[in-house]
């Protein structure tokens, strides 16, 4: 029992979802920057159009899923260094985020996600009064 608990503590109890379809899904590369007011995410999602992108934020879990249309139907494959398939990645966001104000842009295959922090967690300068 103790071992089970320790195992759970180590691994967490987050369910890891597996896909039902055995289609190729790739993990897109992301840059994450935190500024005073927001968390900024940049993700490479080449071939994903606005209509094929789904971004969900629920219970501190940010999920980004992009579908990619087949691009070479009817052509014969000659040589390849990368595969074409859907993108999926999710992040656990520990910062307090104002979910209502999340905004996203997609340009030339790069997703820019703005996750504004809630007012309460933004850093505040505390004025220190000089003592006598």
């Amino acid at each position: 029992m103790a071992r089970e608990l320790a195992k759970k503590q180590r691994e967490g109890d987050g369910a890891v979802a597996e896909r039902t379809r055995n289609a190729a899904t790739y993990t897109p590369r992301f840059d994450i920057v935190e500024t005073e007011g927001e968390l900024l995410l940049y993700g490479d999602l080449p071939g994903v159009s606005k209509d094929n992108l789904a971004i969900d934020f629920e219970n501190d879990n940010l999920s980004i899923e992009g579908k990619v249309e087949p691009r070479h139907a009817g052509h014969d494959f000659v040589y390849g260094e990368y595969g074409i398939g859907a993108f999926h990645r999710s992040f656990t966001i520990t910062e307090a985020i104002d979910a209502e104000k999340i905004s996203a842009e997609l340009r030339n295959g790069v997703l820019t996600l703005h996750l504004p922090k809630t007012e309460a967690v933004k850093p505040r300068k505390i004025a220190v009064k000089a003592g006598n």
Partner: protein, 165 residues
Amino acid sequence: MTNTLWRPFGGELFEPFGSAGWDWPDNPLAELNRLSTEMDRMFRRFGGGDRSFAPAVAYPALDMWQDANSVYVEAELPGMEVGDLEIYVTGGNQLSIRGERKPPVVEGGTWHRQERGYGQFSRLLNLPCDVKTDGVEAEFKDGVLTITLPKSEAAKPRRLAIKAD
């Protein structure tokens, strides 16, 4: 924080985490799942599994396709602008792609992750046949560059007439 540049011809792989070290994943199972996806990407990226796959040692990774009339070369170049790309066809069967990917401009802030790479790149690719240099077209959409190279007449497949006795 210094950006790690791609080394297109150096033979070294792009090092996304720089010298920041390895953070123990919050959820090892999720990390494992991600790893398996990465493995898929490495070994079984074409789904069918019957296609040979060359590991990409240079940036950008390229895919090549063809039909009876044209050769199609494709590269994923997210974040690039058309004006930042230079494409040349030389000697009838060599394709060269050059460009530079610029990092996003962020005033201040703390970088938690930097997995995307930036910098200059160039690649030279030998095409499987001669192409008509004049008819080459390049399209850039959603960060995917597709170059259509019409085959020269001599390179097009020809159906042979078989004489009957």
